[in-house]
């Protein structure tokens, strides 16, 4: 029931924003629909949907797979062509969903980032998790594991209502405040679990 209401609410919001087309919700990046891409890239890391980077970024990334963030991730010629066609044709600058549009709007045209998690639109909002002062759990070195918190990541849902950060995962009282210029106020700690 609650879910039905939520979906109805979202549909209404989408219509109001004029971003629903052909009865389809287009708020978020959506699911992948290339089995080759999911197999070849998703066997090592979260298969970011094409709508997370502009076409120029995907092209740059695909031309340097022999040094893919320090790893060799070369594909067979046939698979590279399939993956390339999929990523570039569905890239953020060609996508009609709201999230890709926001990402493109926030990205300077002079930049060609190849790391989804370092795109300002993504990295900025998550920056605090990578701060050494933040000792949250899951303690993550990079932001490359979307589904740890965004349970619907594989389905292309990254909206705030679809992530889970439980008290157990991120406790305010886990913070090391010894060199924190802005100590956590005591009222914020109330109700959090004691160790």
């Amino acid at each position: 029931m609650i879910r039905a209401l939520m979906v109805a609410g979202m549909a209404a919001a989408a219509c109001a924003a004029g971003i629903a087309s052909a009865g389809e919700l287009r708020l978020d990046v959506g699911t992948n629909d290339s089995p080759v891409y999911e197999k070849e890239c998703g066997s090592c890391h979260f298969p970011y949907q094409p709508g997370w980077l502009p076409e120029r970024s995907w092209r740059r990334l695909l031309s340097s797979l022999n040094n893919h963030f320090g790893d060799n991730a070369e594909l067979s010629a046939a698979n590279r062509d399939v993956v390339s066609a999929y990523l570039t044709s569905r890239a953020a600058d060609h996508a009609t969903n709201q999230r890709s549009r926001e990402l493109i709007a926030a990205l300077p045209a002079s930049e060609t980032p190849i790391s989804v998690t370092k795109v300002l639109y993504v990295g900025g909002i998550h920056g605090g998790f990578l701060d050494p002062n933040f000792k949250g759990k899951p303690a993550t070195k990079t932001l490359a594991q979307c589904p740890l918190c965004h349970q619907k990541a594989a389905r292309g849902w990254f909206a705030p209502v679809t992530y889970t950060i439980s008290d157990d995962n991120f406790r305010v009282d886990d913070l090391d405040e010894s060199n924190n210029p802005m100590p956590v106020p005591s009222w914020l700690k109330m109700g959090t679990k004691k160790k």
Binding site: C44, H45, N66, F69, G70, D71, N72, A73, E74, L75, S76, K141, A144
Partner: protein, 133 residues
Amino acid sequence: MKKAVVVAALSALLTVPAHAQDAVTDLLKQYQARGATRFTPAAAEAMWTRAVMDSKSGEQRRCSQCHSEDLRRAGKHATTGKAIEPLAPSVNPKRLTDPEHIEKWFLRNCKWTLGRECTPQEKGDFLVMIRAK
């Protein structure tokens, strides 16, 4: 047309499931056609733990770094920490069943670890070594 597809699907189901033996035998034949001679597990064993300096990063790299020295155990990716399932078919029967998968990872991992592609001889040595685990 539809009938043909159904028949093909059924016969695919009825055939013996992919087996490490078949994939490896085929690949070994291909390697021999490209100049490899007798394959020896000992050569691969020696190579497995040999450190190779990567000139770009200045770090020592070896196969066992990610795959562990004991092939029956799970390994761990050197940079991401991602778990790598055991290579030994005796504990992980999915291994050595897909020639395309094998070739893909030979290409990537030989280039990352050794800084070059492996020769047909080396690949064959690795396969007979892993197959026996």
